[in-house]
Subunit: 159 residues, 2 copies
């Protein structure tokens, strides 16, 4: 296994392990628990779940995979803070999005070849990418794994 294959495996392993960790945690939290704030006056679990689905949905665009599956989540869970929008999807709906999305991303990532990950993502220009080759698709996985871990550290407070 060469270094490119090794590093792609390392980064995807962390992403998959983080998704599994969040998945396992969500299974231990009831829909009622998700309605609670992670700490007094802070975001509710349901907001964090919707936020994660919205951020991961945006990866479809960044990685050049296709259109967003849940564009209606961008406004309430990315642009607005928690409690600004009264009519949010239910916890059950967000859970089903989360599961479908995780499976979809898993299938797409498994089908990619190691070298594909070093292509530029869609937000960087070809000109900038020539001198900043780290702005590639694999970096999207790295940053989104960090983002996911940050919020797992909060969701676990609902247990």
């Amino acid at each position: 296994m060469n270094q490119t294959n090794t590093i792609v495996k390392m980064v995807l392993d962390r992403w998959n392990a983080s998704l599994a960790s969040c998945d396992n945690l969500l299974k231990q939290l009831s829909n009622e628990a998700l309605q609670k704030e992670i700490a007094p006056g802070r975001n509710r679990g349901i907001y964090l779940l919707g936020h994660l689905v919205a951020v991961h949905d945006d990866m479809l665009i960044l990685l050049g995979i296709g259109e967003k599956d849940y564009p209606e989540l961008q406004e309430p869970f990315l642009k607005q803070p928690d409690k600004a929008v009264a009519d949010l999807p239910s916890a059950a709906t967000l859970r089903s999005y989360w599961e479908k999305q995780s499976a979809k991303l898993h299938g797409i990532f498994e089908a990619m070849q190691p070298g594909d990950w070093f292509e530029k993502h869609t937000v960087v220009s070809a000109e900038d990418f020539a001198t900043e080759p780290h702005r590639n698709k694999l970096n999207i996985i790295l940053t989104r794994t960090n983002h996911l871990q940050y919020h797992i550290g909060q969701l676990i407070l609902l247990k």
Copy 2:
């Protein structure tokens, strides 16, 4: 820049950005704020700070750099839960450890060559490493960055 150099930069960039993010957050939290629990009945800020220093101290061993600088932190901040040990170092002491440690690790990492990161870490045997080349030094940085993000997501609740 070849793919090995690119990926090492990507992973170290995430580590450095996460350390800077935690550092910036710690500067906004008073020593009194660090005495508070991140949520009712949960870990206090001071415990999380000591825990991070202890985990990062252990990286010196895992990466084969040298001995731990703060071995006395392993028991109260890794083996024991918060509030099990009455006599913890002060927030000011832990802050000074954090700063010294971050600077030390930064200097060591900067001096390493990209290829060094693909050497085995100290906990995996040469035999296992032959078939599991992802158990390398760079993977330690990946996992510790995730761990740091998890706890930043909690420390920010003290703001």
